[in-house]
Symmetry: C2
Subunit: 413 residues, 2 copies
């Protein structure tokens, strides 16, 4: 079975407002982050399956006959996504050589790939192919890099299998799938996330699939119809933190001072609702400076609230202070305690201001990217529409199995 | 009529929690600040009344016969404090030479003094005396310096007049008056505050009179029975600000984002209540590190909330950052937007840490005092019990009328 070549990409995720509060039943707004993960899939005749993940120096290859032995007995239709096939996961862990611990990024990425590949193609002939995935996203920074990976895998493999049609018309540079196909991509991406994260919320894969902005409340994920594209800086303080520890810290503080902390959560909830309202207004009326004033005020207030919850960090204070000297407003995004922050840029913010800000932040030891939030979800691309430097990386490592090691991702200027 | 010599002092005031929130019907906690205003009253035979205010380079003297002409017709009993005698105020403004504007500190202090002097002594013979007032408090910094002045004046003049007895027994270094006398002192001090401020809340003179801590809610002032004495640093950023403008800014923000801001006010209210509870526990059980942990957490949370209200300032951020590097927690006190901040010291905080912190803050251009909150209100002192440097200043300028100019108050180390 020969599969068609294809390129897909999916965005990362940032929390605009409501991180931590969402754990306590409040609204969170998750937005797509236009640092994307790119996947190239190539049909081959080598009788093997290769996966190349240059970001994490992973280049693996298996003979098709090896993989055939792993095909689950009860391989259902790919249109029906069921619960994770625990038996297949167990067999794959054994096959890959992870029994108990040692679940590093490489193993997880491999497991997720093989799981989706075998589930999607298991009921028919296994195709010989090479998949190369490269991401602009830093891993483990709470930016949904694993979900973007899973979304790319699902879209590419479902499309290669013919379960969903190609989104791309011949003359188009990039195109998106219809709602029904996106639902299927998202379901399979969620399977990948379950393998990688155990018990994911489903927000990250939903953002990777639909892009734009999602409202997340009490486990329910509602994609918002229209949101404006917002220029931002994304900064990674590179201060390591444990989401689990930070979530526990907030919970402890709420238990210690309920009368003080519960109103703060209510206020965060209202920030998310106000933000959603302003963003919706920006799509249906002329965008004014006042819209941005409000967005900036909401960012500032929420950053203070996150400090009240105890998930701030001196590195994040530095981010806020440095950007404020340029008139720019920042908040942490995600778990806090270090990690990443976002800085809102206005449409009129001059490139020179952005550049000096990026420089100042890098001088603090941070990584910094100029990007946007609210952009499209998973897309199929023509080769010509993929950014040259990305295409170069995908091609260089996409020719076969284990190849030369590619320098790991450096932040783009 | 010859009056006895006496020394009195009254503390300044700081808001521990609830500034701004109190304007919107929430609790505020006002505490006495042990930067004190000292008054020396000396009976003379010069047939004149002298007032010396070395802090503001004011040294004035009037012949008794001049003053007699100003005595109000209907000078009632000093035990009954009525509303401000508008006719006396009008005559005094004319006498002092303020007709419309030009209400500088010197004029206001003079008006308040003459008003209380004439009201207290007007029904009998006017005594020849010299009053010298010197304060450790910076003026116009929201620390209740005018109230401490009015409280000292009331206590000294009521005592000189015999309306209240001397608090001091012969062998005592310092003593306080009984509740009934304090009520009277407070009422007359409030008259002084009305002359100086127009429409005072009454909190400042109540703190100056009773000391300790007061709960202020919806215009009602409730002195709290027992509070511990807390070591603090008081820092004056010297950034000028307008309380009126800041109060209006908070109001605007509440109107703009009611669903976000009202919970913040509720949270501040809960902070005040939690703080009151902890302080009360500290007076009836062994003081532990956990008591201080909570006080520090409440300070941090409230400082963030005040930033959310829009009354922060980069100078206050600097204060918080500098003190936090020493493990000390700070918040603004009063109106914010610059002005003053307080930093909690623990009983075990070493003197060397305090000294380097004070030095670091002075290097930022701030004034800084090590002092305490929760100490006693108005007191009568024996000359021997007044700090030597204060006694020196009071004596140097207290010998007669206009004398040599004394260098204005420098912050103590």
């Amino acid at each position: 079975m020969q599969v068609p070549d294809l390129f897909v990409s999916a965005p990362g995720k940032a929390i605009l407002h409501g991180e931590h509060a969402v754990v306590h039943g409040k609204v969170a707004l998750a937005v797509s982050l236009n640092l994307r993960t790119y996947l190239s899939l190539k049909g081959t005749t080598a009788g093997s399956v290769c996966i190349n993940l240059p970001n994490i120096d992973t280049f693996l290859s298996w003979d098709l006959c090896e993989l055939k032995r792993l095909i689950p007995y009860s391989c259902g239709k790919t249109e029906e996504v069921k619960r994770l096939d625990a038996e297949l996961v167990r067999k794959l862990r054994e096959f890959v050589g992870v029994t108990n611990g040692n679940l590093d990024t490489c193993n997880m990425a491999t497991l997720a790939f093989l799981y989706i590949y075998l589930s999607v193609f298991g009921s028919g002939e296994l195709p010989s192919l090479t998949v190369t995935v490269w991401s602009e996203l830093p891993t483990g920074a709470g930016l949904g890099s694993s979900a973007a990976y899973s979304v790319c895998l699902s879209a590419a493999l479902l499309c290669a299998n013919g379960t969903i049609p190609a989104a791309l018309k011949e003359w188009e540079p990039a195109a998106r799938w219809c709602q029904e196909d996106l639902e299927l991509i998202n379901s399979w991406a969620f399977q990948g996330e379950m393998i990688i994260h155990g018990n994911p919320s489903g927000v990250d894969n939903a953002v990777g699939t639909w892009g734009g902005m999602l409202r997340f409340l009490a486990g329910k994920i509602i994609p918002l119809s229209r949101v404006p594209l917002l220029r931002i800086l994304l900064t990674n303080t590179k201060v390591p933190r444990s989401t689990k520890v930070l979530v526990a810290r907030v919970k402890d503080k709420i238990n210690k001072f309920p009368s003080i902390m519960n109103p703060v959560l209510d206020s965060v909830d209202a920030i998310s609702c106000n933000c959603e309202k302003v963003l919706s207004e920006m799509t249906c009326e002329p965008i004014t400076g006042e819209h941005y004033n409000i967005l900036e005020e909401l960012i500032d207030i929420n950053q203070h609230h996150l400090n009240v919850m105890g998930v701030g960090h001196t590195s994040l204070d530095t981010l806020c202070r440095v950007t404020l000297t340029k008139g720019l407003h920042s908040k942490l995004t995600g778990a806090g305690g270090g990690g990443c922050g976002i800085t809102l840029l206005r449409p009129e913010t001059e490139s020179s201001v952005v550049q000096t800000t990026v420089k100042d932040l890098k001088d603090c030891g941070f990584d910094c990217w100029e990007t946007s939030i609210g952009g499209p979800g998973v897309q199929q691309h023509s080769a010509a529409s993929v950014k040259e430097e990305v295409l170069e990386i995908l091609k260089r490592t996409g020719r076969g199995g284990q190849q030369e090691c590619v320098a790991s991702l450096e932040p783009l200027d």
